[in-house]
């Protein structure tokens, strides 16, 4: 069904997307031509700071260094190679059409807009699809060992949400191999002296003077020293905010702090309610679980998902007869069965667990059963297909999935929201850019598999290095603002005061405790299904817990040596503020779209129901100070190429 739009729709004057005019297929090419250039000998006069060294940050820093800019790159890890991009398993999309199956830039663009449930900006997505082919070339030339066929050509596989095989992969560790590629390009520039690398440094503020970015404030995680760094432009490549849930598939140190501090300095935060929940993760085993582990959703190709029909059934799976099992996805979605999209599979798992039909010691999972597949194909064939995943499962749970069904439950995996950026990837602070998962731009309300790696590298290798020049060209002859300037001194002092404040609270509970408690609220009320009552509850519970946290947190240690507790407390504080905004954003968006399911907005069959008339926009929130809530700005989305349709998987 196509919705007709009759309402008056206007974009906030504060949000100029700067999408060029003209046809979408020549838009980026024309825009590259019309952007201002900085000539090669002038590039070294500009300093660009890149924060974060995952796929987006490493590729951006390396490319800017190659171009001749004076680059300073920062990571809070001990080495750029450890960023969480490294954990991506599945693959990276590229519209190469090597399989001759009808793929094209236009098809990748179309699939991504549709997969994002029509909540992304067409122009950005088209550009992403366009440069996707260059990424595959670049990575291959760097020595990324993608899977190959016997003739020596690159192999592809298909992935959810697509009917063509366009995913390039490197066993189950495509993320690590692509990151090693970007990291090696970065190393080459470090060796060449064009990139100065700062490891174990956490960015704690963006410094703005007269409305423009002039640098950042960092804290040295080994010495506690607070320092200023001047630059003509700052690029944030600092990842997503999935750890606001406490339990997620993100790494332990993933956090929203850099993006959030930029938000507090004027960068609008877009669509914080959009979170992707991955259906095939291993359920938590007890209250002390520190993170969740994802298993490739390819498992759903051969595994059958079920729960007992009875409530609180304590029998082992083998003791439950066929007639007493509920294969609920096969029952509700006969056409797609166990292969419904991620959001549908996740939501249904939550429903049956909430009903009291969950399985496992904590009754917090559903079965993923390979018994039929093993009897059909044999154990060897199943081992060949999924052996590493079965081993991983057995290692974590102590259960043998060849003999008893796996237990799975959805977990937060990726965040589509992030800092609002225009077509040039600039935030609402002139001179501050956001790339990769840190921005909001390309995935709408739901990200397709194998598209996160693509976007990080597209932004870092092929988009930002051009667009940053357009901004810098006008600054030729301007020196960086010295770090002795009062704006830097004041910002540094504010960070020192904040650090001292946390150490002086001397309460009774650790930052970890508050993070875990916050995560429970976010998981319960802003998780896979949201409703007005729950969101309002979250909006009263989060600030109450935040107040207790500020009065009662106990931060051990000092500020002059490595102090993991002190690192953590500031990140938890920022998660509290983000969680509140996330709840408000989810409350305001009274429609279901992609990963955002509002219980009030569903079809008669219980499927997500979009409201294109009222919510076909990006919600971008403006910070108004600590004691005032953010203002909502809307960027209306236009769909000139992809027709709006309602998804159905019956």
């Amino acid at each position: 069904m196509t919705m007709t739009d009759t309402s008056v729709r206007t974009t906030s004057p504060a949000l100029d997307s700067k999408v060029p005019t003209g046809d979408i297929d020549t838009m980026w090419e024309n825009h590259k031509f019309s952007m201002k250039l900085v000539n090669p000998s002038n590039k070294r006069k500009f300093t660009v700071i890149v924060v974060g060294t995952g796929l987006a940050g490493s590729s951006a820093a390396a490319t800017l260094g190659e171009l001749g800019y004076n680059v300073k790159a920062f990571t809070f890890h001990d080495s750029p190679r450890r960023a969480h991009s490294i954990a991506a398993q599945g693959g990276i999309n590229g519209a190469k059409n090597y399989q001759n199956d009808g793929d094209s830039v236009y098809r990748l663009f179309y699939d991504t807009v549709k997969g994002g449930d029509y909540r992304s900006r067409e122009a950005n997505v088209y550009r992403l699809a366009e440069v996707s082919t260059n990424i595959i070339d670049q990575a291959t030339a760097q020595g990324v060992p993608f899977a190959r066929e016997y003739g020596g050509m690159l192999d592809n596989r298909s992935f959810g949400g697509a009917q063509v095989s366009r995913t390039f992969y490197a066993r189950g560790q495509t993320g690590q191999q692509l990151l090693i590629g970007a990291y090696s390009a970065l190393n080459r520039q470090i060796e060449a002296g064009s990139v100065e690398m700062y490891n174990r440094m956490e960015m704690l503020d963006v410094v703005v003077k007269d409305g423009e970015t002039v640098g950042i404030i960092t804290r040295d995680l080994l010495t506690g020293e607070v320092e200023s760094h001047s630059a003509h432009a700052v690029v944030l490549a600092t990842g997503g905010y999935g750890n606001v849930y406490y339990l997620s598939t993100n790494a332990m140190t993933c956090n929203v702090t850099a993006a959030w501090r930029a938000h507090r300095k004027g960068a609008f935060f877009a669509n914080p309610c959009y979170t992707q929940i991955h259906p095939t993760c291993i359920p938590a085993s007890d209250d002390h679980q520190s993170k969740l582990t994802l298993m490739s959703e390819s498992l759903r190709n051969d595994g059958r998902i079920w729960v007992p029909k009875a409530f609180d059934d304590d029998r082992l799976a083998a003791d439950i007869p066929e007639a007493e099992r509920d294969y609920y996805l096969e029952r509700k979605y006969p056409a797609f069965g166990n292969l419904v999209p991620r959001d549908v599979a996740s939501r249904n798992a939550k429903t049956v667990v909430d009903e009291g039909r969950g399985v496992g010691p904590l009754k917090n999972g559903v079965f993923l059963d390979f018994e039929d597949a093993i009897s059909r194909y044999g154990k060897e064939e199943i081992a060949a297909r999924y052996g590493n995943l079965f081993d991983m499962y057995a290692n974590i749970t102590g259960e043998d999935p060849y003999n008893r069904p796996m237990r799975i439950y959805p977990a937060t995996h990726y965040t589509m929201g992030g800092l609002w950026v225009d077509y040039q990837l600039m935030t609402t602070i002139p001179g501050t850019y956001a790339i990769g998962e840190a921005n909001f731009s390309d995935h709408g309300a739901n990200r397709l598999g194998a598209s996160a790696l693509m976007q990080g590298l597209a932004d870092g290798y092929f988009v930002l290095p051009y667009t940053v020049g357009d901004y810098l060209a006008d600054k030729l002859g301007d020196d960086v603002v010295p770090t002795s300037d009062p704006v830097f001194v004041e910002a540094e002092n504010a960070i020192r005061d904040e650090t001292a404040m946390w150490l002086s609270v001397k309460g009774t509970k650790s930052p970890e405790y508050y993070h875990r408690e916050l995560g429970k609220i976010v998981q319960n009320e802003i998780g896979m299904a949201r409703d007005k009552n729950g969101l309002e509850k979250a909006l009263s519970e989060i600030p109450a817990l935040e107040e207790e946290f500020k009065k009662n947190v106990r931060v051990m240690g000092d500020n002059t040596s490595m102090n993991v507790e002190l690192e953590k407390v500031g990140r938890v504080a920022d998660f509290f503020e983000l969680a509140t905004l996330k709840a408000r954003d989810a409350l305001e968006r009274e429609e279901s779209c992609g990963g955002h399911f509002r219980v009030e907005s569903q079809t008669e069959e219980g499927e997500a129901l979009r409201d294109d008339e009222n919510f076909r926009h990006v919600s971008a929130w403006e910070w108004n100070g600590q004691d005032t809530s953010q203002t909502l700005h809307k960027e209306q989305l236009e769909f000139d190429y992809v027709a709006l349709t309602q998804r159905s998987y019956k």
Partner: protein, 256 residues
Amino acid sequence: MNNEINLTLEVWRQDGPNESGRFETYDAKVSEDASFLEMLDLVNEGLIEDDRQPITFESDCREGICGTCSLMINGEAHGPNKGQATCQLHMRTFKNGDHITVEPFRATSFPIIKDLAVSRAALDSIQQSGGYISVGTGSAPDANLVPVPKEAAEMAFDAAACIGCGACVAACPNSAAQLFTAAKIQHLNLLPQGQPERWSRTENMVDTMEEFFGTCTNHGECHEACPKEISLDFIAFMNRDYVKAKIKNRTLSGQR
């Protein structure tokens, strides 16, 4: 399911790089389903509750891929299980009443920062000295222009699987970094794309390695400790390439 076990931990505590360290003893009670690092999290929660300094240790992905976690567990890098990083080690490997010694990775080139956290910056130095193929963004040819034999791609991948954790160095009686360096060199040297810089890469990376690390005497402990089970064969390939690099006339670099 959820059986709890009681353990006694002997943990290395060291307040800073220049302080002297000591072992401290802690009791731990933990579910068999917990991971080793979750067990340490739990000990830390208890220490914080008692107003004592938590144990500093590093970890990140907790899926065995980022290479951040380390630890010598009962004298073994990443603990007793083969092919696993510390974060993948689960407590069901141990039994009720066990004593477990937990130390940092020890090597002269891995200075201790605090407690169990060490600096592995020397590994980055090796990488920066040549662990790359010089191809600027935008100058790559079509990805299928150069066919790569599947066997070569697979073998390059086996080397590229190295997660840079440094267990090989910690396990080596000489604190040598041959396995790490060989994996990084051979990942690129085995591919057609890596040929132009093959000899200079090998020479630079090996020479840089030797600035920081000890000498290989073929003990093979590195392979035993490696969470990715990187093969010792790569060290042989590296040595071959290093000798070739040294005897080749450098003006003919790039020719066989």
